[in-house]
Amino acid sequence: MGLLSIIRKIKRKEKEMRILMVGLDNSGKTTIVLKINGEDTSVISPTLGFNIKTITYQKYTLNIWDVGGQKTIRSYWRNYFEQTDGLVWVVDSSDLRRLDDCKLELDNLLKEERLSGATLLILANKQDIKGALTPEEIAKVLNLEAMDKSRHWQIVGCSAYTGEGLLEGFDWLVQDIASRIYMLD
């Protein structure tokens, strides 16, 4: 076996995916990323800027970009759109008042051409809080059914606090991206 073929093989093996996590402030993006990575989630300050986490997930390497959601820095989201394979939109299901804000920002995001090919996972977070809307209710409020037919999307209820639902969501996301990108193996 020649050196070149070995290198080729290694390269094909480290299957990388670029995941962009966005959503309104206080929705739990950073907590979700840390929870998936098995890190301590008890002290997390609101994100000023962004965090990048590289996680090995199944046989893939996920580069997760967790970008702060405060109003002031939402305009910088677009700096991270390039080459995004998966888009994770995080919703605070207990924040009933700002759902219209949430819908508006998501609609704007989905208009973005650079994200048009990205798989969309919507995480209806904070399901552990009594009074939170269910994923079905969130889907209705965000009018997800009206989305462009070409978009691969899924909504999953989760709790970054207990960890429930996170793996289910990411499993679907990674499988969907893999089936689009690595279909040929």
Binding site: D25, N26, S42, V43, I44, S45, P46, L48, Q70, K71, T72, I73, S94, D95, L96, R97, L99, D100, K103, K126, D128, I129, K130, G131, A132, L133, E137, V141, Y161
Partner: protein
């Protein structure tokens, strides 16, 4: 031998480089000196005008409403001055930045002194509001049973979180002991006092004026949007403050509190007490003071110099321990 000539060559090259430097230097120095001097003259101009305004205050002492306005103007001018310093902090020599900041803080101090001298401080107390109601009306242990008036506007969610909404001049009490509580909303209050005993998972505060909000530990996060002339005493894992003006926050937070689009907000450590609060705080992982109440991040001020939008509340102006255990009906005083 070859080494020697090589060395000499290098040396010559260096000498040549050095000789060229002075030619390019003056122009740079000139332009930065120019901007420094233009900054300094603008700065001293503003300072003189503030000094003059401060001096004028005495003559207005017989006219309290105008005096208050006058002080607000001065305070605005001082914060403009502070902004000017910050904007120029990249260009200025560090000595000038230091002296300018010192001048600004001196001005603030003299404003505070003269304000204290001319406007007697109102002491903090639990005095009753004129709109006193029957105690049964004011003590509401079951907030979910509150009639929830619909707020005009485009609300997408079919239902609302439990909470206190649309009240003027009332004392609103909620007690959550041993009952599981999710999110709680406090919105559209004017001149009210809110007391929440026990802990909640998430707290949303929206559009409050001239109100005081005392809450036990929040195990998730607190989100505050639009508050003016308010006092908040709260403990939480995360606190976000948006669009707040002239309000004081007495906080215990596990992470850094943040502000956005706010100004005139001041911070101090948590100071709430009620029977059993220690237990609640322990249960929420908030029994230890993290010191984070003063590690405020201002998302509108990403610079090295202190943000002009918030400050530490001077110890002399802080309220003492606020005990809400016996105040359910709002007629006792501390």
């Amino acid at each position: 031998m070859e080494d020697e000539t090589e060395k000499q060559k290098k040396h010559l090259a260096m000498v040549e480089r050095l000789s060229k430097r002075p030619q390019s230097r003056p122009t740079n120095a000139e332009s930065s000196a120019e901007s420094t001097s233009s900054f300094l003259s603008r700065f001293s101009e503003l300072k003189t005008s503030i000094d003059f305004q401060l001096h004028q205050s005495q003559s207005l002492s017989s006219d309290p409403p105008n005096l208050k306005l006058h002080f607000q103007n001065i305070s605005q001018s001082i914060s403009d001055l502070e902004k000017l310093v910050a904007q120029n902090s990249y260009l200025l020599p560090s000595y000038d930045v230091r002296t300018s900041l010192k001048t600004v803080s001196d001005l603030k101090l003299s404003l505070q002194n003269i304000t204290n001298q001319l406007i007697p401080k109102t002491k903090f107390s639990f005095k009753n509001k004129p709109t006193k109601k029957d105690p049964k009306d004011t003590a509401i242990p079951q907030p979910k049973q509150l009639p929830q008036p619909s707020i005009p506007g485009t609300r997408l969610a079919a239902r609302e979180s439990p909470g206190f909404r649309n009240k003027v001049g009332e004392v609103l009490v909620a007690e959550f002991r041993g009952s599981e509580v999710g999110e709680f909303a406090v919105s559209d209050l004017d001149s009210c006092e809110v007391r929440i005993i026990g802990s909640v998972r998430a707290l949303f505060v929206h559009r409050l004026k001239n109100s005081r909000v005392y809450v036990g530990p929040v195990t998730g996060s607190v989100l505050i949007e639009e508050a003016e002339d308010c006092v908040f005493v709260m403990a939480s894992h995360q606190i976000r403050i948006h669009s707040a003006r002239k309000s004081d926050f007495y906080l215990r937070v596990r992470s850094k509190p943040i502000i956005e689009d706010s100004n005139g907000v001041r911070f101090a450590p948590y100071c709430l007490s009620y029977r059993g609060i220690e237990e609640d705080l322990r249960g929420a992982g908030l029994d230890a003071e993290s010191g984070n109440w003063e590690n405020v991040d201002d998302f509108r001020w990403l610079r090295a110099v202190q943000s002009p939008n918030w400050s530490v509340l001077p110890e002399s102006e802080r309220v003492g321990i606020i005990d809400i255990s016996n105040l359910k009906n709002g007629d006792e005083e501390i």
